[in-house]
Subunit: 518 residues, 2 copies
């Protein structure tokens, strides 16, 4: 692994920068031995030039070859599981079963997006037939198709070393769209990320893909990311992280001459609402589901539930005790990085001034247990900042005297990735739907927000500040659309439209253009 510690500028390994950093094992805060060399400004520039050149070549390669390439990445990953899993666990402190799940998801995603292209779904071809006889003027034929936007920059995420990083949905969907990609690796898992890049590039070489279709740059500070997003060659950016990080990127992008889209998936508290009727009937079941969701991997998910709006009822004390039992009986879990646990403890402290702590989670080093807090609806309405995300396991109960008060609290919510509703009747659902739809991108009925299904109809992106652009999703087939734009061909000869493919009852066109597009 002679590439470890170095940047991938297309097929070239490069390490000329002055700045060095190390991966850290969060279980003991010890650095790993290989020094990683941050990309120098010259290396960033080379990557940009190569990415631009590769894009020009890649967009002319046939859709079939693109599909084969994506599927082959998935195969390559499957053949190299152990190395990837091992570094994933070592750098993230996450347990093996989580590594396995996320690894399987990453393998699947490349196939999943390949299929979106193969079936014609991603091309979204729309056709208006000509009508030469129309009066007063003939109607021209129009054929609309999605084409790739250009080189894309993807920022690796701290909390998903596979599925939102170099092997993640942003990279897979951008490559599926026909774009070249520059990954800014997350400094918290440089080994995992570099090894990931190596396997994609090895597959690219085997499939004769243009040099520069993927670049992988190492960076510990903000300078590399800044240079990337402000470069005119870059046409879209994918980011998963904090609101602060996303907004800082947006301000850098605002300074560009040409505006481009930043697809930032940022923070969310994923409120869960429980009606009195649901609490009356299912207190133990809901407590069990919710506790498991809060506990999952120390709550380090964008969809981890942080807020619980609940109507007071006979079962409330029992319900709270069930949560306390689950939290206090749980094993301490390692957070991703000393920087992340530090921030968690800061937020917990800030938050304590606003709420009543019912159970204070134990902690040791970077290992934590969830904390359970509560407040009243009245207090919440006076201090709506209580809703702000705490990244890591932490649940705040907002006790509401009735359903009306509960919905009034929810009206004060900022935009969220998800909302959940535990309820019993259609009438309850109907009363909640207006506020639920207004505040989030995904609404879960009688279920918890964790576990984002990678599926056709998924929406992972909600109103600001949970996302910067709620029109788009970072999960599901529609994620590809972030990296495409439509072009309409007017009055083109029939033979430029060839080879049809069926999708879901509609006729799509796999090979749109002959010649260069095959």
């Amino acid at each position: 692994m002679n590439f470890l510690g170095k940047n991938h500028i297309g097929y070239q390994i490069s390490a000329f920068g002055d700045r060095i950093f190390f991966g850290i094992d969060p279980r003991n805060n010890q650095p790993f031995e290989t020094p990683f060399r941050q990309a120098s400004p010259e290396e960033v520039d080379e990557a940009l030039a190569k990415s631009q050149e590769a894009f020009e070549a890649y967009r002319l390669i046939s859709v079939e070859k693109r599909v084969q390439f994506l599927k082959a990445i998935s195969e390559k990953l499957k053949a190299n599981k152990e190395l990837l899993i091992q570094w994933f666990c070592a750098e993230s402190g996450l347990p093996r079963d989580r590594a396995e799940t996320e690894y399987a998801r990453s393998c699947f995603q490349f196939e999943f997006y390949a299929k979106a292209v193969e079936t014609g779904y991603a091309l979204e071809i729309k056709i208006d037939e000509a009508d030469p006889e129309r009066k007063p003027a003939p109607k021209p034929s129009l054929t609309k198709i999605n084409i790739p936007v250009g080189p894309v920059v993807v920022f690796g995420a701290s909390n998903f070393p596979f599925a939102y990083s170099t092997l993640g949905g942003d990279v897979a969907s951008a490559l599926a769209a026909g774009c070249s990609v520059i990954v800014k690796a997350h400094a918290m898992h440089p080994h995992t990320s570099s090894i990931s890049a190596h396997f994609i590039l090895e597959t690219a070489k085997e499939h004769d893909m243009p040099d520069g279709i993927l670049c992988h740059l190492l960076a510990e500070d903000f300078t590399v990311g800044q240079k990337l997003v402000q470069d005119p060659r870059v046409k879209a950016v994918g980011f998963t992280g904090s609101i602060g990080g996303g907004m800082a990127l947006q301000r850098l992008i605002d300074e560009r001459k040409e505006p481009i889209s930043l697809y930032a998936e940022m923070g969310s508290s994923n409120p869960v609402a429980v009606t009195k009727s649901a609490l009356d009937k299912r207190a133990a079941e809901i407590a069990r589901q919710l506790a498991a969701s809060v506990l999952l991997n120390a709550g380090q998910f964008c969809t981890s539930p942080g807020l619980l709006f609940i109507e007071e009822g006979a079962n409330l004390n029992f319900f709270k005790q069930e949560l306390i039992n689950a939290f206090s009986g749980s094993e301490l879990q390692c957070m991703l990085h000393p920087g992340i646990s530090k921030r968690y403890f800061e937020r917990v402290k800030e938050h304590a001034a606003l709420v009543t702590v019912l159970y204070e989670g134990k902690h040791e080093g970077n290992f934590i247990q969830p904390t359970l807090a509560e407040t009243t609806a009245e207090h919440f309405m006076k201090h709506p900042q209580i809703q702000e995300e705490i990244f890591g396991s932490y649940l705040t109960i907002v006790k509401c005297s009735d359903e009306v008060e509960l919905r009034m609290c929810m009206q004060l919510l900022q935009g969220q990735l998800t909302n959940s509703l535990y309820a019993e009747t259609d009438e309850e659902i109907n009363r909640f739907l207006p506020v639920l739809t207004a505040k989030s991108g995904r609404i879960i009925f009688n279920g918890v927000p964790t576990g984002v299904e990678v599926s056709f109809a998924q929406q992972h992106g909600g109103p600001f500040p949970s996302s910067l652009n709620s029109y788009f999703t970072s999960v599901g087939w529609d994620a590809i659309k972030r990296f495409q734009r439509p072009v309409t061909f007017q009055n083109f000869p029939e033979n430029f439209i060839s080879k049809k493919v069926e999708f879901n009852g509609n006729t799509h066109f796999l090979h749109f253009l002959n010649g260069k597009y095959e």
Copy 2:
């Protein structure tokens, strides 16, 4: 018409501002008699509050009622043709036949977008069936549907008093999406715009639509628009106008806490490329088509052709003479406004320093003839600012020694709404496609860019600076998507998905939710 000169704040007529302005007849530069009163900051605020309230009510009204309302607007306009046409011509200086065409388009658009909703197309419903048996975890059901984003601000455009103003595609598609709309009327046609608003509001009343579903604000300066786009209640903005105007709006939006999408369709020179083979075979025909396109309504279209890249050939002198004959033999045409003709003459003067004028169009007051200029490819490559749009009839020929040089010139183009290619063979098309697709949103084969078909597969929006967001279109069914965002419902009971409707082989769902959504 007691509303003339006043703002429409929903169903309320209001005129408390201090600032007054007048419509102008561009044919003689004389003001019309009615004073128009710019909306005061308090009136803007009232409009925003009403628009927000109306949105909350409108989004819960059934899709069927929405469709009926949109169709009824179209009927209302048809019943009031003469008054609208008369003011259109008086305020724009455009001829009656153009007024009739644009009027017909506006009537059509409300029906057209109604149909996009009625068929289920606009809702874009996507469904993943549940799989309770899946291991290790059951798969939940997911149903994705587009919902309206919130109150929308639309800026009327100077050059389309109907079809891109109060009766335009932005208003029609936003209402179709389920959004309330605040129109900032263009000060160049306040009568036309106010009468338009009156007819929409009269229809809204007849259909019991919520008060505030449309607000219509008068303004001569930038303060009203600024207050509107910076208000947190506004969730999207539609604009058609200059690059300067669009970018100024974007900078105001960049200052918001919550970023929102500005759909700005800005400038474009709509380059036309003619290969030697096409010039050899069809010089007279191409010259005739191109001249007619340049001449259309004094070239005051976003798709008016301003640049012609042509390979030198035996027919070039004949071709140029044909254009000169067409231009010099044409009647002088009135520009929309003294402000617009002033800017035109300034741009013509600036441009003259960069090119050789072959025919200088005659002019008198606001009336103009097109000017024909030429330059060489070499000179163009040194001075790519030659490509910058001149709003109004003006054509610059860029003479290229061969096809390679022609494509090199095109590589220097900024983003365009359209590109046209006159060519003879498939091989020629294939060689041009990479540059054509990279530079524009619509590509016309053997045809001119004017005449934007309002049709399913249309794309009216291209790379920056022709549009701010090339993912979207302001014409065609997809225009509705600018004012919607998707929400996924996970694990919802079956009876929340009712009443199916067929579209294009796919099953869509007209009434998604029962209860409040009916």
